[in-house]
Symmetry: C2
Subunit: 240 residues, 2 copies
């Protein structure tokens, strides 16, 4: 069992919490048993990091280390006794006929929640624009409740994604409080939906490339909805 | 201008970030100009705390202090140059015919998001159970985007709230993945909706007191939705 926090492997793993190193090594770490299990089910679990070998019920190697080493690697307030080393699978292809594009959405909790809802409402692909939060962000992964491993998440430039989707003959909606079509009136089984950040909204350039626009009517005393809520209401309405 | 962090008023205000002191003094602090403005519009702004008197465009007294004093009071990473001292108005009465009850929901971001959606979808009263997060929690207030001041929020025991609502002849639904009625099929303009915590769900005791139950159908590979998302989908569906 590794007990030194200056051990080469411990140092490597603790540095693997930074974006640059994650991208370079094409691996990231997930914490808690549930996320380890979901990564395993998706065929992405490389190794189990734990202080108790019997917790590794998966057919992958164990990295056995003491609590203080786990603490050095963990970013959670209370260090879990099992973490997973997971392969960073970079999806490149937009698939299916229900697609959500997140254009410059930064909040990892919101993006994670959107990915969780996307799976619930039969969305095939979630596109994260290059300037959105990274899909391996630890808070994002936690907010998806492990659903990140069950859905096709692609990182791509927003305009490039819209162009590709239009070639697939799928209507591209952007969501906006002044959108032309009210969500309950839209009846389509195939769509792409562009959501912008709460602060900045969607740029004119992106809006111009979209073919349609959609809105959620609400009480005039409320200025806007949370972006995960708005996305989920639209995905729910168009789920069939 | 106050410049000493041991000044009596600065010490008092910095202690006013703790639940016990907020309840005792019936006052709390909000940060950022937007929240100060919303508190003012609601008639709840007592004083403006700032390092620049000209920022107080409201008809209330100013507490003028230096940046380091503001820093001592602020709980944000970047200290704003305006904060508001706000009256803690404790609402006691359940009003209207669209009511949401949050039963032991702890996450302040989720509760704030639910309150924001509640305003958007014409909910009259949000009941927080005694074991839910306090409605003056700073993260909750921020997540509502100031909408906390525009809606009737009541803190009350869940079972007591359900009893009162039933006396008003309003159906009380609880949300659950095995709920009897699917949300799109429910057509009612008056309802109460009980939402439980994501982890524990709703207790059997509470379920028994409800008159109906509601569910959101979703893809079988997804186990559950975020509680703010689920609440918002139901409120949106029953908004008219």
């Amino acid at each position: 069992m590794i007990d030194s926090v200056s051990n080469k492997e411990v140092v490597f793993l603790s540095k693997l919490r930074e974006t640059k190193n994650i991208k370079e090594n094409k691996m990231f770490i997930v914490e808690t048993p549930h996320l380890v299990e979901e990564a395993y089910k998706a065929g992405l679990l490389l190794k189990v990091i734990t202080n108790d070998e019997s917790l590794n019920i998966y057919n992958v190697p164990t990295i056995l280390m003491s609590n203080r080493c786990l603490e050095k690697i963990s970013t959670l307030k209370s260090t879990p006794n099992i973490m997973g080393l997971v392969s960073l699978k970079e999806n490149k292809e937009i698939r299916g006929n229900k697609i959500v594009i997140l254009d410059n959405v930064q909040d990892p909790g919101n993006v994670g929640t959107i990915i969780r809802s996307a799976l619930a409402f039969n969305v095939d692909t979630v596109v994260l624009s290059n300037d959105s939060v990274n899909y391996f962000n630890e808070k994002l992964v936690r907010s998806t409740e492990g659903n990140i491993f069950k859905i096709n998440v692609v990182t791509m430039d927003t305009l490039e994604a819209i162009r590709k989707i239009k070639e697939m003959n799928i209507d591209v909606y952007y969501a906006d409080m002044y959108g032309k079509e009210e969500v309950s009136e839209v009846k389509t089984t195939s769509y792409a939906l562009v959501m912008g950040s709460e602060g900045k909204g969607i740029s004119e350039k992106v809006k111009e490339e979209c073919t349609k626009s959609i809105r959620i009517d609400m009480n005039s005393s409320c200025e806007s909805l949370n972006v995960a809520v708005a996305s989920s209401i639209i995905m729910h309405s168009l789920r069939s």
